[in-house]
Protein backbone atom coordinates (compact mmCIF):
# COMPACT_ATOMS: atom_id res chain seq x y z
CA UNK A 1 0.00 0.00 0.00
CA UNK A 2 1.19 3.47 -0.79
CA UNK A 3 0.67 5.97 1.99
CA UNK A 4 0.84 8.89 -0.44
CA UNK A 5 0.34 8.55 -4.16
CA UNK A 6 0.35 11.48 -6.56
CA UNK A 7 -0.02 11.64 -10.33
CA UNK A 8 0.75 14.84 -12.15
CA UNK A 9 -0.15 16.71 -9.00
CA UNK A 10 0.01 20.48 -9.20
CA UNK A 11 -1.06 23.42 -7.05
CA UNK A 12 -1.22 27.01 -8.08
CA UNK A 13 -1.61 29.99 -5.80
CA UNK A 14 -2.57 33.01 -7.81
CA UNK A 15 -0.22 32.93 -10.74
CA UNK A 16 2.54 30.92 -9.05
CA UNK A 17 2.78 27.18 -9.27
CA UNK A 18 3.93 26.03 -5.85
CA UNK A 19 3.97 22.43 -7.05
CA UNK A 20 3.81 21.01 -10.51
CA UNK A 21 3.89 17.65 -12.27
CA UNK A 22 4.44 15.81 -9.02
CA UNK A 23 4.28 12.04 -9.44
CA UNK A 24 5.09 9.98 -6.37
CA UNK A 25 4.35 6.70 -4.68
CA UNK A 26 5.55 6.59 -1.10
CA UNK A 27 5.25 3.05 0.28
CA UNK A 28 4.06 2.28 3.78
CA UNK A 29 6.26 1.02 6.58
CA UNK A 30 8.90 3.61 5.81
CA UNK A 31 10.15 6.91 7.08
CA UNK A 32 9.93 9.11 4.02
CA UNK A 33 11.87 12.34 4.09
CA UNK A 34 10.79 15.27 1.93
CA UNK A 35 13.87 17.35 1.51
CA UNK A 36 14.43 20.58 -0.30
CA UNK A 37 15.16 24.26 0.13
CA UNK A 38 12.51 26.71 1.28
CA UNK A 39 9.94 27.26 -1.40
CA UNK A 40 10.52 23.84 -2.93
CA UNK A 41 6.90 22.87 -2.43
CA UNK A 42 7.22 20.50 0.52
CA UNK A 43 4.55 22.17 2.65
CA UNK A 44 2.26 22.41 -0.36
CA UNK A 45 2.59 18.71 -1.04
CA UNK A 46 1.92 17.83 2.58
CA UNK A 47 -1.09 20.17 2.72
CA UNK A 48 -2.51 18.44 -0.33
CA UNK A 49 -1.92 15.05 1.26
CA UNK A 50 -3.72 15.89 4.50
CA UNK A 51 -6.62 17.67 2.83
CA UNK A 52 -5.83 21.24 3.80
CA UNK A 53 -5.56 22.20 0.15
CA UNK A 54 -7.16 20.93 -3.02
CA UNK A 55 -5.20 20.20 -6.20
CA UNK A 56 -5.24 22.55 -9.15
CA UNK A 57 -4.08 19.76 -11.44
CA UNK A 58 -3.55 16.03 -11.16
CA UNK A 59 -4.60 13.71 -8.38
CA UNK A 60 -3.44 12.67 -4.96
CA UNK A 61 -4.60 9.79 -2.80
CA UNK A 62 -3.54 8.54 0.60
CA UNK A 63 -3.56 5.29 2.55
CA UNK A 64 -4.04 3.15 -0.50
CA UNK A 65 -6.43 5.18 -2.61
CA UNK A 66 -8.44 7.27 -0.12
CA UNK A 67 -9.24 10.88 -0.90
CA UNK A 68 -7.43 13.36 1.37
CA UNK A 69 -9.85 15.13 3.69
CA UNK A 70 -12.39 12.32 3.57
CA UNK A 71 -13.45 10.86 6.92
CA UNK A 72 -11.35 7.75 6.40
CA UNK A 73 -8.28 9.81 5.55
CA UNK A 74 -8.79 12.17 8.49
CA UNK A 75 -9.18 9.16 10.73
CA UNK A 76 -6.00 7.44 9.61
CA UNK A 77 -3.63 10.37 9.23
CA UNK A 78 -2.27 12.54 12.04
CA UNK A 79 -0.70 15.80 10.95
CA UNK A 80 1.62 18.11 12.85
CA UNK A 81 2.00 21.37 10.96
CA UNK A 82 5.03 23.59 11.05
CA UNK A 83 5.58 25.18 14.46
CA UNK A 84 3.17 22.72 16.07
CA UNK A 85 0.03 24.92 16.19
CA UNK A 86 -1.86 24.57 19.45
CA UNK A 87 -4.56 26.64 21.14
CA UNK A 88 -2.41 28.84 23.34
CA UNK A 89 -4.97 29.53 26.04
CA UNK A 90 -6.00 25.91 26.61
CA UNK A 91 -4.22 23.97 29.28
CA UNK A 92 -2.45 20.76 28.33
CA UNK A 93 -5.25 18.76 29.96
CA UNK A 94 -7.86 20.73 28.02
CA UNK A 95 -5.92 20.16 24.82
CA UNK A 96 -6.00 16.41 25.47
CA UNK A 97 -9.72 16.63 26.10
CA UNK A 98 -10.18 18.63 22.89
CA UNK A 99 -8.25 16.10 20.82
CA UNK A 100 -10.09 13.20 22.34
CA UNK A 101 -13.43 14.79 21.49
CA UNK A 102 -12.47 15.52 17.91
CA UNK A 103 -11.47 11.94 17.07
CA UNK A 104 -13.02 8.53 17.10
CA UNK A 105 -9.99 6.92 18.66
CA UNK A 106 -7.69 8.44 21.23
CA UNK A 107 -5.46 6.65 23.70
CA UNK A 108 -5.59 8.90 26.74
CA UNK A 109 -3.55 6.52 28.83
CA UNK A 110 -0.68 6.64 26.36
CA UNK A 111 -0.87 10.43 26.05
CA UNK A 112 -0.85 11.04 29.80
CA UNK A 113 1.93 8.54 30.39
CA UNK A 114 4.04 10.09 27.68
CA UNK A 115 3.50 13.64 28.92
CA UNK A 116 4.37 12.48 32.40
CA UNK A 117 7.61 10.93 31.15
CA UNK A 118 8.46 14.16 29.38
CA UNK A 119 7.71 16.24 32.43
CA UNK A 120 5.02 18.35 30.76
CA UNK A 121 2.55 19.53 33.41
CA UNK A 122 -1.12 19.02 32.63
CA UNK A 123 -2.22 22.30 34.14
CA UNK A 124 0.06 24.62 32.21
CA UNK A 125 -1.37 26.55 29.29
CA UNK A 126 -0.12 25.28 25.96
CA UNK A 127 1.11 28.72 24.98
CA UNK A 128 3.41 28.80 28.00
CA UNK A 129 5.30 25.64 27.13
CA UNK A 130 8.75 25.76 25.59
CA UNK A 131 9.18 25.13 21.88
CA UNK A 132 10.43 21.61 22.50
CA UNK A 133 7.55 20.85 24.83
CA UNK A 134 5.01 22.18 22.34
CA UNK A 135 6.46 19.99 19.63
CA UNK A 136 6.38 16.96 21.92
CA UNK A 137 2.81 17.77 22.95
CA UNK A 138 1.71 18.02 19.33
CA UNK A 139 3.45 14.76 18.54
CA UNK A 140 1.88 13.05 21.57
CA UNK A 141 -1.57 14.20 20.48
CA UNK A 142 -0.91 12.92 16.98
CA UNK A 143 0.35 9.53 18.13
CA UNK A 144 -2.43 9.23 20.68
CA UNK A 145 -4.86 9.09 17.78
CA UNK A 146 -3.21 5.79 16.77
CA UNK A 147 -2.89 6.84 13.12
CA UNK A 148 -1.61 4.72 10.29
CA UNK A 149 0.37 7.61 8.87
CA UNK A 150 2.13 10.38 10.73
CA UNK A 151 2.81 13.50 8.68
CA UNK A 152 5.22 16.07 10.09
CA UNK A 153 5.97 19.41 8.43
CA UNK A 154 9.42 20.66 9.42
CA UNK A 155 8.88 19.33 12.93
CA UNK A 156 12.30 20.13 14.25
CA UNK A 157 12.99 23.53 12.79
CA UNK A 158 12.93 25.34 16.12
CA UNK A 159 14.16 22.57 18.41
CA UNK A 160 17.50 22.29 20.16
CA UNK A 161 19.54 19.10 19.60
CA UNK A 162 18.28 17.31 22.69
CA UNK A 163 14.67 18.15 21.91
CA UNK A 164 15.23 16.98 18.36
CA UNK A 165 16.62 13.67 19.55
CA UNK A 166 13.75 13.14 21.95
CA UNK A 167 11.22 14.05 19.27
CA UNK A 168 12.59 11.57 16.76
CA UNK A 169 12.97 8.90 19.44
CA UNK A 170 9.26 9.24 20.24
CA UNK A 171 8.26 9.00 16.60
CA UNK A 172 10.53 6.07 15.85
CA UNK A 173 9.38 4.19 18.93
CA UNK A 174 5.80 4.58 17.78
CA UNK A 175 6.84 3.18 14.43
CA UNK A 176 8.51 0.19 16.10
CA UNK A 177 5.55 -0.43 18.41
CA UNK A 178 2.57 0.21 16.14
CA UNK A 179 3.83 0.13 12.59
CA UNK A 180 3.00 3.80 11.93
CA UNK A 181 4.42 5.08 8.66
CA UNK A 182 6.07 8.47 8.80
CA UNK A 183 6.39 11.23 6.22
CA UNK A 184 8.33 14.26 7.31
CA UNK A 185 9.75 17.30 5.60
CA UNK A 186 12.86 19.26 6.34
CA UNK A 187 15.28 21.60 4.70
CA UNK A 188 18.13 20.13 6.74
CA UNK A 189 19.07 16.72 5.38
CA UNK A 190 21.77 15.80 7.86
CA UNK A 191 19.41 15.37 10.76
CA UNK A 192 17.30 12.93 8.71
CA UNK A 193 20.07 10.71 7.44
CA UNK A 194 19.86 8.30 10.34
CA UNK A 195 16.14 8.05 10.10
CA UNK A 196 14.98 8.24 6.51
CA UNK A 197 14.73 5.13 4.37
CA UNK A 198 12.81 6.78 1.56
CA UNK A 199 13.89 10.06 0.05
CA UNK A 200 11.93 12.62 -1.91
CA UNK A 201 14.09 15.50 -3.05
CA UNK A 202 12.22 18.60 -4.14
CA UNK A 203 13.33 21.81 -5.73
CA UNK A 204 11.33 24.75 -7.09
CA UNK A 205 8.05 22.94 -7.07
CA UNK A 206 9.21 19.73 -8.73
CA UNK A 207 10.32 16.34 -7.49
CA UNK A 208 13.87 15.58 -8.54
CA UNK A 209 14.57 12.38 -6.70
CA UNK A 210 12.23 9.79 -5.27
CA UNK A 211 13.21 6.33 -4.09
CA UNK A 212 14.38 4.05 -1.36
CA UNK A 213 17.53 5.34 0.22
CA UNK A 214 19.27 1.98 -0.13
CA UNK A 215 18.49 1.88 -3.84
CA UNK A 216 19.61 5.45 -4.35
CA UNK A 217 22.89 4.90 -2.59
CA UNK A 218 23.48 1.67 -4.43
CA UNK A 219 22.80 3.24 -7.81
CA UNK A 220 25.06 6.24 -7.43
CA UNK A 221 28.76 6.61 -6.87
CA UNK A 222 31.50 9.18 -7.22
CA UNK A 223 34.23 8.60 -9.78
CA UNK A 224 37.45 10.48 -9.23
CA UNK A 225 39.98 10.81 -11.99
CA UNK A 226 41.86 13.05 -14.37
CA UNK A 227 39.96 16.19 -15.26
CA UNK A 228 41.07 15.98 -18.84
CA UNK A 229 39.19 12.74 -19.36
CA UNK A 230 36.03 13.90 -17.60
CA UNK A 231 34.34 15.15 -20.73
CA UNK A 232 34.97 11.93 -22.58
CA UNK A 233 33.15 9.83 -20.01
CA UNK A 234 30.40 12.28 -19.21
CA UNK A 235 27.91 11.10 -21.83
CA UNK A 236 28.49 7.41 -21.32
CA UNK A 237 28.49 7.41 -17.56
CA UNK A 238 25.24 9.22 -16.79
CA UNK A 239 26.82 12.03 -14.84
CA UNK A 240 24.58 13.86 -12.44
CA UNK A 241 27.00 16.45 -11.26
CA UNK A 242 30.66 17.10 -11.81
CA UNK A 243 33.21 19.08 -9.90
CA UNK A 244 36.67 19.64 -11.21
CA UNK A 245 39.88 21.24 -10.23
CA UNK A 246 42.77 21.84 -12.55
CA UNK A 247 43.88 18.24 -12.81
CA UNK A 248 41.32 16.22 -10.93
CA UNK A 249 37.58 15.82 -11.36
CA UNK A 250 34.84 14.17 -9.30
CA UNK A 251 31.84 12.87 -11.19
CA UNK A 252 28.75 11.81 -9.36
CA UNK A 253 27.25 9.22 -11.64
CA UNK A 254 24.11 7.16 -11.75
CA UNK A 255 24.84 3.53 -12.52
CA UNK A 256 21.33 2.29 -13.24
CA UNK A 257 22.01 -0.85 -11.27
CA UNK A 258 24.59 -2.32 -13.59
CA UNK A 259 28.07 -2.42 -12.25
CA UNK A 260 30.04 -0.80 -15.02
CA UNK A 261 33.74 -1.30 -14.66
CA UNK A 262 35.56 1.72 -13.38
CA UNK A 263 37.48 3.37 -16.20
CA UNK A 264 41.21 2.76 -15.92
CA UNK A 265 42.91 5.40 -13.89
CA UNK A 266 39.73 6.31 -12.05
CA UNK A 267 38.62 5.52 -8.55
CA UNK A 268 35.10 4.79 -7.39
CA UNK A 269 33.74 5.85 -4.01
CA UNK A 270 30.39 5.23 -2.42
CA UNK A 271 28.26 8.33 -2.05
CA UNK A 272 26.57 9.65 1.07
CA UNK A 273 22.98 10.76 1.12
CA UNK A 274 23.95 14.34 1.72
CA UNK A 275 26.38 14.38 -1.17
CA UNK A 276 23.76 12.88 -3.43
CA UNK A 277 21.13 15.39 -2.39
CA UNK A 278 23.44 18.35 -2.85
CA UNK A 279 24.48 17.14 -6.28
CA UNK A 280 20.89 16.93 -7.50
CA UNK A 281 19.93 20.22 -5.93
CA UNK A 282 22.76 21.86 -7.83
CA UNK A 283 21.52 20.39 -11.10
CA UNK A 284 17.90 21.42 -11.53
CA UNK A 285 17.57 19.45 -14.73
CA UNK A 286 18.70 16.17 -13.24
CA UNK A 287 16.29 13.69 -11.80
CA UNK A 288 16.28 10.19 -10.41
CA UNK A 289 12.78 8.91 -10.42
CA UNK A 290 11.35 5.42 -10.65
CA UNK A 291 10.11 4.87 -14.17
CA UNK A 292 11.45 5.97 -17.53
CA UNK A 293 14.89 7.45 -17.28
CA UNK A 294 14.96 11.14 -17.99
CA UNK A 295 17.71 12.67 -20.05
CA UNK A 296 20.34 14.13 -17.83
CA UNK A 297 22.37 17.18 -18.38
CA UNK A 298 26.08 16.59 -18.61
CA UNK A 299 27.16 20.10 -17.87
CA UNK A 300 30.33 20.20 -15.87
CA UNK A 301 30.85 22.94 -13.40
CA UNK A 302 34.22 24.60 -13.06
Amino acid sequence: MNVIEAAGLGKRYGSTWALRECTLAIPDGHVAALVGPNGAGKTTLLNLAVGLATPTAGTVSVLGGTRPGSPAALDGIAFVAQDAPLHANLSVADTLHLTRNLNRRFDRGYARARLDELGIPLTRKAGKLSGGQQAQLALTLALGRRPRLLVLDEPMASLDPLARHDFMATAMTAMADDGVSVVLSSHVLTELERVADYLVLMSRGSVQVAGEVDDLLASHRVLTGPAAEAGRYAERLGVVHARRGGAQAHLLVRTNGSTDPVPPGWEAHPVSLEELALAYLREPGAASLPGPVRAERTEVSP
Binding site: D75, A81, H97, L102
Partner: protein, 345 residues
Protein backbone atom coordinates in the same frame (compact mmCIF):
# COMPACT_ATOMS: atom_id res chain seq x y z
CA UNK B 1 11.62 -5.45 1.37
CA UNK B 2 12.96 -3.51 4.26
CA UNK B 3 9.50 -2.55 5.42
CA UNK B 4 8.38 -3.30 8.92
CA UNK B 5 5.53 -5.77 8.87
CA UNK B 6 2.51 -4.03 10.30
CA UNK B 7 0.89 -5.63 13.31
CA UNK B 8 -2.87 -5.94 13.14
CA UNK B 9 -4.40 -2.48 13.11
CA UNK B 10 -7.24 -1.83 15.52
CA UNK B 11 -10.42 -1.46 13.51
CA UNK B 12 -9.43 0.68 10.53
CA UNK B 13 -12.62 0.70 8.51
CA UNK B 14 -12.99 1.94 4.98
CA UNK B 15 -15.56 4.53 6.00
CA UNK B 16 -15.49 5.15 9.73
CA UNK B 17 -18.55 6.20 11.67
CA UNK B 18 -18.49 9.95 12.15
CA UNK B 19 -17.48 11.35 15.51
CA UNK B 20 -20.71 12.08 17.44
CA UNK B 21 -21.97 15.68 17.28
CA UNK B 22 -22.30 15.98 21.04
CA UNK B 23 -18.54 15.79 21.40
CA UNK B 24 -18.34 19.35 20.16
CA UNK B 25 -20.50 20.70 22.95
CA UNK B 26 -17.68 20.89 25.47
CA UNK B 27 -15.31 22.25 22.85
CA UNK B 28 -17.57 25.08 21.69
CA UNK B 29 -18.32 26.07 25.25
CA UNK B 30 -14.66 25.93 26.34
CA UNK B 31 -13.44 28.01 23.41
CA UNK B 32 -16.17 30.66 23.43
CA UNK B 33 -17.25 30.80 27.03
CA UNK B 34 -15.69 34.22 27.55
CA UNK B 35 -17.55 35.77 24.67
CA UNK B 36 -20.88 34.24 25.62
CA UNK B 37 -20.41 35.13 29.29
CA UNK B 38 -19.52 38.67 28.27
CA UNK B 39 -22.67 39.05 26.23
CA UNK B 40 -24.83 37.67 29.00
CA UNK B 41 -23.15 39.90 31.58
CA UNK B 42 -23.50 43.09 29.55
CA UNK B 43 -27.07 42.42 28.52
CA UNK B 44 -27.87 41.43 32.07
CA UNK B 45 -26.47 44.65 33.46
CA UNK B 46 -28.34 46.77 30.94
CA UNK B 47 -31.50 44.81 31.67
CA UNK B 48 -31.22 45.77 35.30
CA UNK B 49 -30.98 49.40 34.25
CA UNK B 50 -33.98 48.98 31.99
CA UNK B 51 -35.96 47.37 34.74
CA UNK B 52 -35.25 50.25 37.07
CA UNK B 53 -36.14 52.77 34.40
CA UNK B 54 -39.32 50.90 33.60
CA UNK B 55 -40.38 50.89 37.21
CA UNK B 56 -39.72 54.61 37.43
CA UNK B 57 -41.74 55.32 34.32
CA UNK B 58 -44.64 53.39 35.70
CA UNK B 59 -44.59 55.20 39.01
CA UNK B 60 -44.27 58.65 37.50
CA UNK B 61 -46.99 58.12 34.99
CA UNK B 62 -46.23 59.05 31.45
CA UNK B 63 -46.21 62.79 31.64
CA UNK B 64 -44.04 63.44 28.69
CA UNK B 65 -44.42 61.88 25.36
CA UNK B 66 -42.26 62.91 22.55
CA UNK B 67 -39.11 61.31 21.38
CA UNK B 68 -37.21 62.95 24.16
CA UNK B 69 -33.47 63.10 24.29
CA UNK B 70 -33.19 60.24 26.77
CA UNK B 71 -35.01 57.69 24.70
CA UNK B 72 -33.21 58.72 21.54
CA UNK B 73 -29.76 58.39 23.03
CA UNK B 74 -30.62 55.18 24.76
CA UNK B 75 -32.12 53.82 21.60
CA UNK B 76 -29.01 54.64 19.61
CA UNK B 77 -26.85 52.89 22.19
CA UNK B 78 -29.07 49.86 22.13
CA UNK B 79 -28.96 49.79 18.36
CA UNK B 80 -25.27 49.09 18.71
CA UNK B 81 -25.86 45.85 20.60
CA UNK B 82 -26.57 43.50 17.68
CA UNK B 83 -23.59 44.52 15.54
CA UNK B 84 -21.26 44.42 18.53
CA UNK B 85 -22.43 40.94 19.42
CA UNK B 86 -21.97 39.89 15.84
CA UNK B 87 -18.49 41.34 15.76
CA UNK B 88 -17.28 40.03 19.10
CA UNK B 89 -18.95 36.64 19.09
CA UNK B 90 -19.39 35.84 15.40
CA UNK B 91 -16.28 37.13 13.68
CA UNK B 92 -13.64 35.41 15.85
CA UNK B 93 -15.15 31.93 15.49
CA UNK B 94 -13.52 31.27 12.15
CA UNK B 95 -11.10 34.17 11.91
CA UNK B 96 -9.17 33.20 15.01
CA UNK B 97 -8.55 29.67 13.82
CA UNK B 98 -7.19 31.03 10.58
CA UNK B 99 -5.20 33.86 12.06
CA UNK B 100 -3.43 31.75 14.67
CA UNK B 101 -2.94 28.82 12.31
CA UNK B 102 -4.72 26.38 14.60
CA UNK B 103 -6.99 25.41 11.69
CA UNK B 104 -4.10 23.21 10.57
CA UNK B 105 -4.70 21.25 13.75
CA UNK B 106 -8.47 21.53 14.13
CA UNK B 107 -9.39 20.74 10.52
CA UNK B 108 -7.13 17.69 10.26
CA UNK B 109 -8.75 15.93 13.20
CA UNK B 110 -11.28 13.18 12.66
CA UNK B 111 -14.31 15.39 13.19
CA UNK B 112 -14.11 17.05 9.78
CA UNK B 113 -14.05 20.76 9.07
CA UNK B 114 -17.58 21.23 7.75
CA UNK B 115 -19.17 19.44 10.70
CA UNK B 116 -16.90 21.35 13.06
CA UNK B 117 -18.07 24.64 11.60
CA UNK B 118 -21.72 23.73 11.93
CA UNK B 119 -21.21 22.39 15.46
CA UNK B 120 -19.54 25.64 16.47
CA UNK B 121 -21.83 28.15 14.75
CA UNK B 122 -25.19 26.59 15.57
CA UNK B 123 -25.03 26.64 19.37
CA UNK B 124 -23.50 30.13 19.41
CA UNK B 125 -26.12 31.44 17.02
CA UNK B 126 -28.84 30.00 19.21
CA UNK B 127 -27.28 31.44 22.35
CA UNK B 128 -26.97 35.00 21.04
CA UNK B 129 -30.45 34.89 19.55
CA UNK B 130 -32.01 33.79 22.80
CA UNK B 131 -30.02 36.36 24.77
CA UNK B 132 -31.10 39.11 22.38
CA UNK B 133 -34.74 38.02 22.45
CA UNK B 134 -34.70 38.06 26.24
CA UNK B 135 -33.18 41.51 26.22
CA UNK B 136 -35.76 42.65 23.70
CA UNK B 137 -38.47 41.47 26.06
CA UNK B 138 -37.02 43.55 28.86
CA UNK B 139 -36.76 46.57 26.59
CA UNK B 140 -40.32 46.22 25.37
CA UNK B 141 -41.62 45.90 28.88
CA UNK B 142 -39.58 48.82 30.07
CA UNK B 143 -40.20 51.35 27.36
CA UNK B 144 -43.25 49.84 25.77
CA UNK B 145 -45.84 52.08 27.35
CA UNK B 146 -43.84 55.11 26.26
CA UNK B 147 -43.61 53.89 22.71
CA UNK B 148 -46.99 52.39 22.07
CA UNK B 149 -49.79 54.87 22.17
CA UNK B 150 -47.31 57.70 21.86
CA UNK B 151 -48.89 60.29 19.58
CA UNK B 152 -45.57 61.69 18.48
CA UNK B 153 -43.28 58.68 18.19
CA UNK B 154 -44.20 55.71 16.03
CA UNK B 155 -43.19 52.25 17.21
CA UNK B 156 -42.44 51.48 13.59
CA UNK B 157 -39.86 54.22 13.43
CA UNK B 158 -36.27 53.24 13.01
CA UNK B 159 -35.37 54.69 16.40
CA UNK B 160 -36.90 51.86 18.33
CA UNK B 161 -38.27 49.30 15.88
CA UNK B 162 -35.10 47.16 15.98
CA UNK B 163 -35.20 46.92 19.73
CA UNK B 164 -38.33 44.89 20.17
CA UNK B 165 -38.19 41.20 20.95
CA UNK B 166 -38.34 39.63 17.52
CA UNK B 167 -36.45 42.26 15.60
CA UNK B 168 -33.66 42.54 18.13
CA UNK B 169 -33.19 38.77 18.03
CA UNK B 170 -33.26 38.84 14.24
CA UNK B 171 -30.75 41.65 13.89
CA UNK B 172 -28.44 40.00 16.41
CA UNK B 173 -28.63 36.68 14.60
CA UNK B 174 -27.88 38.26 11.24
CA UNK B 175 -24.98 40.16 12.78
CA UNK B 176 -23.58 36.87 14.05
CA UNK B 177 -24.06 35.31 10.64
CA UNK B 178 -22.36 38.24 8.93
CA UNK B 179 -19.54 37.89 11.44
CA UNK B 180 -19.06 34.23 10.66
CA UNK B 181 -18.83 34.84 6.91
CA UNK B 182 -16.52 37.79 7.44
CA UNK B 183 -14.32 35.57 9.60
CA UNK B 184 -13.77 32.93 6.94
CA UNK B 185 -13.54 35.43 4.11
CA UNK B 186 -11.12 37.83 5.73
CA UNK B 187 -9.22 35.41 8.00
CA UNK B 188 -8.06 38.05 10.46
CA UNK B 189 -10.01 38.78 13.62
CA UNK B 190 -9.91 42.57 13.85
CA UNK B 191 -10.54 43.28 10.16
CA UNK B 192 -13.37 40.74 10.23
CA UNK B 193 -14.94 42.49 13.21
CA UNK B 194 -14.69 45.81 11.45
CA UNK B 195 -16.19 44.40 8.28
CA UNK B 196 -19.04 42.92 10.32
CA UNK B 197 -19.88 46.29 11.80
CA UNK B 198 -19.79 48.02 8.44
CA UNK B 199 -21.83 45.38 6.62
CA UNK B 200 -24.44 45.18 9.35
CA UNK B 201 -24.77 48.96 9.51
CA UNK B 202 -25.25 49.13 5.78
CA UNK B 203 -27.94 46.47 5.88
CA UNK B 204 -29.70 48.14 8.81
CA UNK B 205 -29.70 51.54 7.17
CA UNK B 206 -30.97 50.17 3.87
CA UNK B 207 -33.72 48.25 5.61
CA UNK B 208 -34.84 51.20 7.67
CA UNK B 209 -34.71 53.67 4.82
CA UNK B 210 -36.06 51.65 1.92
CA UNK B 211 -37.19 48.14 2.67
CA UNK B 212 -39.33 48.28 5.75
CA UNK B 213 -42.05 50.48 4.33
CA UNK B 214 -42.86 47.84 1.73
CA UNK B 215 -43.76 45.02 4.08
CA UNK B 216 -47.45 45.79 3.67
CA UNK B 217 -49.23 48.26 1.41
CA UNK B 218 -49.50 51.51 3.28
CA UNK B 219 -52.76 53.27 4.11
CA UNK B 220 -53.69 56.61 2.62
CA UNK B 221 -55.77 59.25 4.29
CA UNK B 222 -56.74 62.85 3.64
CA UNK B 223 -57.33 63.61 7.28
CA UNK B 224 -55.16 66.23 8.79
CA UNK B 225 -55.37 64.23 11.99
CA UNK B 226 -53.49 60.97 11.92
CA UNK B 227 -53.86 58.09 14.37
CA UNK B 228 -51.42 57.98 17.25
CA UNK B 229 -48.09 56.50 16.43
CA UNK B 230 -48.61 56.36 12.70
CA UNK B 231 -45.45 56.07 10.71
CA UNK B 232 -45.57 58.56 7.89
CA UNK B 233 -44.09 57.54 4.59
CA UNK B 234 -45.00 60.51 2.48
CA UNK B 235 -47.31 63.45 2.36
CA UNK B 236 -48.40 65.63 -0.49
CA UNK B 237 -50.74 68.46 -1.12
CA UNK B 238 -53.40 68.61 -3.81
CA UNK B 239 -55.81 71.27 -4.93
CA UNK B 240 -58.98 70.10 -6.59
CA UNK B 241 -57.29 66.83 -7.41
CA UNK B 242 -54.10 68.33 -8.89
CA UNK B 243 -50.80 68.29 -7.07
CA UNK B 244 -49.84 71.65 -5.74
CA UNK B 245 -46.58 72.82 -4.32
CA UNK B 246 -45.87 73.60 -0.74
CA UNK B 247 -45.21 77.26 -1.45
CA UNK B 248 -48.62 77.68 -3.06
CA UNK B 249 -50.28 76.27 0.03
CA UNK B 250 -48.13 78.53 2.10
CA UNK B 251 -49.36 81.57 0.17
CA UNK B 252 -52.94 80.61 0.75
CA UNK B 253 -52.38 80.19 4.43
CA UNK B 254 -50.60 83.46 4.82
CA UNK B 255 -53.83 85.23 4.13
CA UNK B 256 -55.02 84.03 7.48
CA UNK B 257 -51.72 84.45 9.15
CA UNK B 258 -50.66 80.82 9.18
CA UNK B 259 -47.94 78.99 7.39
CA UNK B 260 -47.48 75.43 6.50
CA UNK B 261 -44.49 74.77 8.59
CA UNK B 262 -44.99 77.22 11.38
CA UNK B 263 -45.40 75.70 14.75
CA UNK B 264 -47.26 77.38 17.44
CA UNK B 265 -50.75 78.05 18.56
CA UNK B 266 -52.04 78.29 15.02
CA UNK B 267 -51.34 74.67 14.66
CA UNK B 268 -48.66 72.75 13.02
CA UNK B 269 -49.09 71.70 9.51
CA UNK B 270 -46.19 69.43 8.62
CA UNK B 271 -44.18 70.30 5.53
CA UNK B 272 -45.27 68.47 2.45
CA UNK B 273 -43.17 65.39 1.61
CA UNK B 274 -41.72 64.99 5.08
CA UNK B 275 -41.13 61.49 6.36
CA UNK B 276 -40.48 62.33 9.92
CA UNK B 277 -41.66 59.95 12.50
CA UNK B 278 -42.38 62.77 14.84
CA UNK B 279 -44.86 65.51 14.39
CA UNK B 280 -47.63 63.71 12.63
CA UNK B 281 -50.11 65.65 14.56
CA UNK B 282 -51.61 68.18 12.29
CA UNK B 283 -54.73 69.21 14.02
CA UNK B 284 -54.41 72.92 14.21
CA UNK B 285 -55.34 74.65 17.38
CA UNK B 286 -57.46 77.56 16.43
CA UNK B 287 -56.64 80.65 18.35
CA UNK B 288 -59.34 82.86 19.72
CA UNK B 289 -61.14 84.53 16.94
CA UNK B 290 -58.90 83.19 14.18
CA UNK B 291 -59.89 81.00 11.31
CA UNK B 292 -59.19 77.29 11.51
CA UNK B 293 -56.45 76.77 8.97
CA UNK B 294 -57.61 73.27 8.13
CA UNK B 295 -61.13 74.32 7.33
CA UNK B 296 -59.79 77.29 5.43
CA UNK B 297 -57.75 75.02 3.20
CA UNK B 298 -60.63 72.66 2.65
CA UNK B 299 -62.75 75.62 1.70
CA UNK B 300 -60.23 76.36 -1.05
CA UNK B 301 -60.19 72.75 -2.21
CA UNK B 302 -56.75 72.00 -0.82
CA UNK B 303 -56.27 68.60 0.70
CA UNK B 304 -53.33 66.74 2.12
CA UNK B 305 -52.80 63.09 1.33
CA UNK B 306 -50.74 61.11 3.81
CA UNK B 307 -49.36 57.68 3.16
CA UNK B 308 -48.60 55.92 6.40
CA UNK B 309 -48.33 52.67 8.27
CA UNK B 310 -50.49 52.37 11.35
CA UNK B 311 -48.97 51.54 14.70
CA UNK B 312 -51.06 48.40 14.92
CA UNK B 313 -48.75 46.84 12.37
CA UNK B 314 -45.88 46.68 14.85
CA UNK B 315 -46.14 42.97 15.38
CA UNK B 316 -46.85 41.89 11.81
CA UNK B 317 -43.88 43.95 10.71
CA UNK B 318 -41.72 42.40 13.38
CA UNK B 319 -42.56 38.92 12.21
CA UNK B 320 -41.93 39.81 8.58
CA UNK B 321 -38.61 41.40 9.35
CA UNK B 322 -37.64 38.64 11.75
CA UNK B 323 -38.56 36.10 9.12
CA UNK B 324 -36.35 37.37 6.34
CA UNK B 325 -33.52 38.10 8.77
CA UNK B 326 -33.69 34.47 9.88
CA UNK B 327 -33.62 33.25 6.30
CA UNK B 328 -30.70 35.53 5.47
CA UNK B 329 -28.82 34.38 8.57
CA UNK B 330 -29.21 30.74 7.66
CA UNK B 331 -28.05 31.51 4.15
CA UNK B 332 -25.00 33.39 5.39
CA UNK B 333 -24.01 30.67 7.81
CA UNK B 334 -24.41 28.05 5.08
CA UNK B 335 -22.15 30.24 2.95
CA UNK B 336 -19.63 30.28 5.78
CA UNK B 337 -19.63 26.46 5.89
CA UNK B 338 -19.25 26.33 2.11
CA UNK B 339 -16.31 28.71 2.24
CA UNK B 340 -14.69 26.61 4.95
CA UNK B 341 -14.91 23.61 2.68
CA UNK B 342 -13.61 25.50 -0.31
CA UNK B 343 -10.81 27.52 1.19
CA UNK B 344 -7.29 26.22 0.72
CA UNK B 345 -4.61 26.29 3.37
Amino acid sequence: MTALTLPAQPGHEASPRPVPWRRMAWITWRQHRLAVAGVVAVLGAVSVYLYITGEQLRHQGFISYGAGPVLSITAVLFQAIPPLIGAFVGAPVLARELETGTFRFTWTQGFGRARWTVATLAPLALAVTIAAAAFGLVFSWSYGPQIIGNPVLSPLAATTFDLHEVTLAGWTLVAFAIGSVAGIAIRRVVPAMFATLVAWSGLAVLTGAFLRRHYQAPLVTSNFTLPDGAWIESQRWAQDGHPVSLSAVDQVLQKIGATVAAPGHLGQLPAAGSQSAAGSQSAPAPGPGSVNPAQYLLHHGITQLTTYQPASRLWPFQWIEGGWLLALSLLLMAAAVWLVLRRAA
